[in-house]
């Protein structure tokens, strides 16, 4: 590995990226961390109200991460290895749980599985008290498995089929190939998936607020300190505890990853197809994914039915009045798509370039920047927004307008997934590939552009997709930043929810989700075609 000191361009690019991260991740966050002051921390920590939520947070994180990553792995394996039908359908359905604007989607779980739920009571005659640990566990598993699915699918897709073919030719059965080749090669993706899923579950407050009942976790405690009692100081202290927890997880991830090599893409041509999986396994994959898909579609189906009826579940008469609000508030929907779209593109490219510089180059402070790129996942959106409002609401920053600031917050808040996907991908690509380019005279940035960038297209896609859906559905980041002209769809939904206008809120939510699905389908379609063309050209 070359030292970067000989490549001024790389140094420059790196300095720009790190400078931006310091300005838009570290600087705003410092504004939150210093709020309580030493006395504030002592008095808050001494009060001990945080101990129980801390244990609850860790407990739900361990349980939900385990189930979400397992589910994500099964889904990713089915998508990449099996020959099951309807893959494009499953791809969109697998992203849907990420598209849940707060305060709305979680309600449909309760409508389905609550004490008088359509399924739990209507079908089975049971009245489960789902508010609490078990309810939250279930919801978080579904809500966060898409992160794991995407990160693992990226890595699995890059596994070299020749290794698996070789193992098969030497007589290994499907299970043996899976255990000794597929699973170990997926380790970078698994580590990335475990880390990001765990951190995201740790910082989520939308679902706990609705379904955790008395099982208070740290982010919902922070939210209620602000919203219930105006205790900004205590809330900032809780946010700092979450940051410390994220640091612990990060160190743990470095341990999991270890120092092995996961290189599977080397310079030689790979046109061999994957060894076929047994038909029974494909069928099992199809059934597993279908069950999950039905479940997810049910949850979103409730939203659609609610949007089209007078008052679900009490009055099921059809109506279109719920969509009336859409016309007068279309500006918020347009803003959402505009800011979210721009942010997602920049975010995905930024994450990929950063991952390249961190994984491929050697320089002092690499690990610190690596953590910086993961940190936003650990900052509850609320505090990311507060940090921005404090840090950039100064006269010297008056030239940053609000639309731009909101876009910037979406870019930097959503870096972690795209970054993790790119890092995991780079770990699988042999350095000799890009080194070949540089020794033939290309600059290392050119090598990145021409060699690695095409190989990392799926990681880029993952970064775009997650950044887009999270930007479109975030409420907590933007409630401290929006202005009358830059209002967003989630703000409108929140206002409708507080007016108890369930029909209007679901109609707006369905419209947001619908538009996002259209955008994502378009992106998948284009990238699928391009991948197809390249395969043909290459083979």
């Amino acid at each position: 590995m070359r030292s970067i000191s000989r490549e001024p361009t790389v140094v420059l690019v790196l300095a720009v990226l790190v400078g931006l991260m310091v300005m838009f991740i570290i600087y705003p966050q410092v504004q939150v961390v210093i709020v309580p002051g030493l006395d504030g921390y002592f008095s808050f920590l001494g009060g001990q109200t945080w101990i129980k939520p801390l244990f609850n947070s860790i407990q739900i994180m361990l349980a939900s991460t385990t189930t979400a990553v397992t589910l994500g792995f099964v889904y990713a394996y089915s998508m990449v290895y099996s020959e099951m039908p309807w893959k494009p359908f499953f791809r969109i359905v697998g992203i849907l749980p990420l598209l849940s604007p707060p305060f709305v989607v979680a309600v449909s779980y309760i409508l389905l599985f609550g004490p008088r739920g359509v399924i739990s009571y209507g079908v089975f005659g049971q009245s489960p008290l789902i508010l609490g640990f078990y309810g939250l566990w279930g919801v978080q598993t579904i809500a966060f498995f898409p992160f794991a699915y995407q990160l693992i699918a990226d890595v699995l897709a890059r596994n070299d089929p020749r290794l698996e073919q070789a193992a098969r030719n030497l007589g290994a059965g499907t299970w043996n190939v899976f255990r000794t080749i597929t699973l170990p090669l997926a380790r970078p993706g698994l580590a990335a998936a475990i880390l990001t899923t765990a951190i995201y579950i740790l910082e989520d407050f939308g679902n706990p607020l609705l379904i955790a009942g008395q099982f208070t976790v740290l982010p919902s405690q922070a939210y209620s300190l602000i919203e219930g009692f105006g205790d900004f100081t205590g809330a900032a202290a809780v946010s700092t505890i979450l940051l410390v927890l994220a640091l612990v997880l990060y160190v743990a991830k470095l341990r999991i990853e270890g120092n092995r090599s996961y290189v599977t893409i080397s310079g030689k041509a790979t046109s061999i197809p994957r060894p076929p999986v047994p038909r029974a396994l494909t069928a099992a994959c199809f059934i597993a994914c279908s069950i999950l898909a039905v479940f997810i579609l049910m949850v979103y189906g409730v939203l659609i039915v609610s949007a089209l009826t007078v008052a679900f579940p009490n009055n099921l008469a059809l109506t279109s009045k719920n969509f009336e609000y859409l016309g007068s508030h279309s500006q918020s929907l347009i803003n959402t798509l505009k800011f979210g779209g721009i942010a997602a593109i920049i975010c995905a490219l930024f994450a990929l370039l950063l991952a390249f510089l961190v994984q491929r180059k050697e320089w002092w402070g690499r690990q610190a920047v690596d953590f910086m790129a993961i940190m936003p996942a650990a900052v509850p959106g609320l505090f990311f927004g507060i940090g921005y409002a404090t840090a950039f609401n100064q006269h010297i920053f008056d030239w940053i307008d609000r639309g731009m600031l909101i876009t910037l917050s979406m870019i930097f808040w959503n870096i972690p997934v795209g970054y993790q996907a790119a890092i995991a991908g780079l770990q699988q690509i042999d350095r000799s590939l890009d080194e070949a380019a540089t020794s033939l005279g290309a600059s290392s940035l050119r090598g990145f552009r021409d060699i690695l960038f095409p190989l990392l297209r799926s990681a880029l896609l993952t970064g775009f997709v997650t950044a887009f859906v999270r930007a479109v559905t975030t409420l907590s980041v933007v409630i401290f930043l929006f202005t009358p002209g830059t209002t967003l769809a989630t703000i409108t939904i929140f206002q409708l929810v507080t007016d108890f206008d369930w029909g209007g809120a679901t109609a707006f939510t369905v419209s947001v989700i619908g538009m996002a699905v259209i955008v994502l389908s378009g992106v998948y379609f284009i990238s699928g075609r391009r991948a197809g063309l390249q395969r043909t050209a290459g083979g």
Partner: protein, 369 residues
Amino acid sequence: MDKPQIDTFSPALSRREFLRWLGAGVGLAAAGGILAACAPAAPAVAPTVAATVAPKASGSISIYSALNQSTNDAFFAAFKAAVPGIDVQLLPLAAAGALQTRIIAEKASPKGDIFIGGDRSFHDVLGKQGLLENYVSPNAGAIPTGFKDPNGFWTGWYVGIFAFVYNTSRLAAEMGGKKPATWDDLLDPAWKGKIIMPSPITTGGGYVFLATQVFRFNKDEAKAMDYMKKFHANVAQYVDSAPNGIQFVAQGQFVGGPNWAHDILTSKAQGNPIDLAVIADTGFEVGSVSIIKGGPNTAAAKPFVDWMLTKDAGALNVKLSNRVSLVPGVPPAPGAPTLDTVKLVNYDGVWAADNQKRLTQLWQTTVGL
């Protein structure tokens, strides 16, 4: 073939050279970083900005409103009609705590003129931090003492009363249609497992309920906790957000639960099968208004506060939000309790706020949560 040779064979760059590059890089990064930061997003958002941030005519005020959206539109239209010449830039967010935090976060360069809605405690914190403008409206004289800040930073203008929401069909079927009239009625074993309660730890409303019990027993905390313990036995679940409690009752998930009267009526007006039971000796919040210090247009903010404290504005708020106006002579919303008809507990908001941590902890140990 120059470059690879340098990479492979030449000795490492001298330290000086490296530092020179680094210095140049950092210098450029500072400039480039700023450019890169604004370049990508700028073209797309430029049009909206011109409308919001650009200094407008001197007669525009920026209002941070925690009122419900259904109240906002008609309420501010009425103001514009009543006081011509002052335009309103509305920032609606029905979450008073988030708005309060936003005002704190923006204190270096305040963007709002008026903070409207939300309990007095949210305004009081800002006043104590020196973020509010001292203004006693000439119309504030009519507001009863105890409902306005003795220091003149905020003025109460409506009262939200804590009451009880029930699902009409489930109450008829399972409770014989008998709705509670006192808090003690909720200790009836018939209510066991049927109550959804906003958490006293995580919701403002839940804490008002807890403090109400303390005031009801004349601050005899042992008796209050004894009540809370018996009540806890009847609670099916606690919920982390008060409006969700109403929504669950509307869905029929639970039979009933303590909650805010005005929210219950608002949800009922949406066609939900719920109703309100007024409870004796209940607690309340004092919805307030204040002027943010150093905002863009403090001069125009004062006529707004004056207007809000008129009878007309009070009546309009009652009509739109079902809350109880503090302006004397404003009639209540149909079905809503009023200050005359409901028996309020002697609720000391300042004492309740000061003892919040201690009381919630005491409650937690009492009920074992």
